[in-house]
Amino acid sequence: MTAAAEHMPRPKTSSRFLRRSLPYLLSLPALIVCIGILIPFFTAVYYSLLRFRLNLPALKGFIWFDNYLNFLTDAAFWNTVKISLVYAGLTVGVELLLGLGIALLLQKPTRFNNLASILLLLPLMTAPALAALMWKLMTNPNFGILSYLVSLLGFTNFKWASDPSTALLTVTLVDVWVYTPFIMILLLAGLRSLPKAPFEAAALDGVPRSFVFFRITLPMLLPYIITASLFRLLDSIQQFDIVYSMTQGGPGDTLMVFQVQSYLEFFQYTNVGRSAALLIVLWAITYFLSNIFIKQWLKLRERAHGVA
């Protein structure tokens, strides 16, 4: 505002037309840049209705919903649906419980707790693809520190991500490591923004702490819990980086989540139509979730702004 001193009185040049079109002029460049990205979306819808294999261009043709109808009887497709849902449910479930627990531990804004919550941001700021590589080094059967530690516990031949029975556990561990802090900081912000009065009243009345937690804290925190979980569910059902860096969907088809499956479908099997149809199914799921999320998020945002 120091600039106010140097202002020169100047006649208003903006005509009525300019005033009207100004908001469009301001927002259109951003939109135009993204339009180029909207086109591929419609292309993907179109591809999903084609028989389209890059290696067999002669067979290309319009087949309506055959790609989707084929899914109904396709075991690989149902495996993908199952794995993606299990992955999303498992990671978000664990992250929610752990994140809530940590947020409660760090609730008091002491200097130590604030420092701890800042340090806990570090995994979240690590690229998930690189986090997967870090855990791959730590679970290496020859020298990995974690392989060594579990061998002390008697699991001498624990194969982590390369064994179908423990692969899901391993990628879940990486996902939990990266994303628990996200839920933790949202819930911590939520906890610290709750009004003090109900808690003081409960303390004066000598209400048991489990009662306070389940009847006061949890209901008041619920909007934050729902927002954080939906946000994570949206990301987690689309997980690609961690699974791809760690195992590329393997061993076998153990970890063929939606995006990894469609990536391989496209680049390895060059089956563009099927890959696109898979992604449209995933998009439908995320669209449904994101609509709920945006509504929830706007409500929370209004509340936060109303208080501020």
Partner: protein
């Protein structure tokens, strides 16, 4: 008013210690590995005592690795440079496009305004491959495959929604009265935007820019599909590096450390903005 007993304090402290160990140990361990030779890495049992060496880092920086099988060329520094270039330029473009748009959404109620804003936000939630796979075919036709321009354009998908929604929140929190007063004093709209609105929203713009930088840096899938080796950022480069160098574990660890250090440093530097930015401003930090 403090009713916490000593026992409870000890349990709390113990639990927090466990949490910190779980979340910080992997970073600590990889940093340790990066200062070790393969020989000490492969020791059993593993130990935190060893003679630190800088050989992994010097091999990465000079790009030459002497092995028993001969010399190996490492292009890792190129990946690091690509990351710097892609993230910085993407964020710069996003700010140029996003700040005026955020201002428009915050200050004007206009037809289609909310629709445009939500269309832009929805990019944040769509599966990236849905757009990337068809785009990879288009990029081939347009000659944009494996170019910085093509990548920076696509990176707008990450940066733009973030900047738009955080900065919009900041503009909305600033009272328009100051701007009205400045305009009545005879200044044009553009001067008001530049000299009043933007400086007042600067903390938000800086926070959004930093976060967008971190997210652009950490992105993996965009460059995996649209770039080949010479344009790849560290996230993709490190994976390729693991495949290529095979058993050079010390170098792999050093490469990971160099790749994650910039975002971790930025995160520590900008931590007070992170909560708000990560939740797209849903909760005030």
């Amino acid at each position: 008013m403090d009713h916490t007993s000593n026992l409870e304090r000890i349990i709390r402290g113990g639990l927090i210690a466990l949490v910190l160990i779980f979340f910080l140990f992997p970073i600590f361990w990889i940093v340790l590995m990066s200062f070790q030779t393969n020989e000490t890495i492969l020791r059993i049992p593993p130990s935190i005592f060893f003679e630190p060496t800088l050989s992994n880092y010097s091999a990465l920086i000079t790009g030459k690795l002497k092995t028993t099988a001969g010399n190996l060329d490492l292009a890792f520094m190129k990946n690091l440079w690509n990351s710097v270039l892609l993230s910085t330029l993407s964020v710069a473009l996003s700010l140029i496009l996003g700040v005026p748009a955020a201002y428009a959404f915050a200050r004007f109620r206009f037809r289609l305004g909310e629709d445009i804003a939500f269309t832009l936000l929805s990019f944040r939630f769509a599966p990236p491959l849905l757009v990337l796979l068809p785009l990879s075919l288009y990029f081939k036709q347009l000659g944009l495959t494996n170019t910085y321009i093509g990548l920076i354009w696509v990176y707008q998908l990450i940066c733009l929604p973030l900047i738009l929604w955080i900065v919009r929140g900041y503009f909305e929190d600033i009272s328009p009265d100051i701007e009205h007063a400045y305009r009545i004093a005879g200044n044009s709209w553009w001067q008001t935007f530049r000299k009043i609105a933007v400086p007042l929203a600067m903390p938000g713009i800086a926070a959004a820019g930093l976060l967008a930088f971190i997210f652009a840096w950490n992105n993996f899938v965009f460059a995996l599909i649209l770039a080949s080796a010479d344009k790849q950022p560290v996230t993709v480069g490190a994976l390729a590096f693991v495949t290529a160098s095979g058993i050079q574990y010390g170098q792999i660890a050093a490469a990971i450390v160099l790749s994650i250090a910039p975002t971790l440093a930025l995160a520590l530097y900008a931590q007070r903005y992170l909560v708000e930015g990560l939740s797209l401003g849903a909760v005030k930090g």
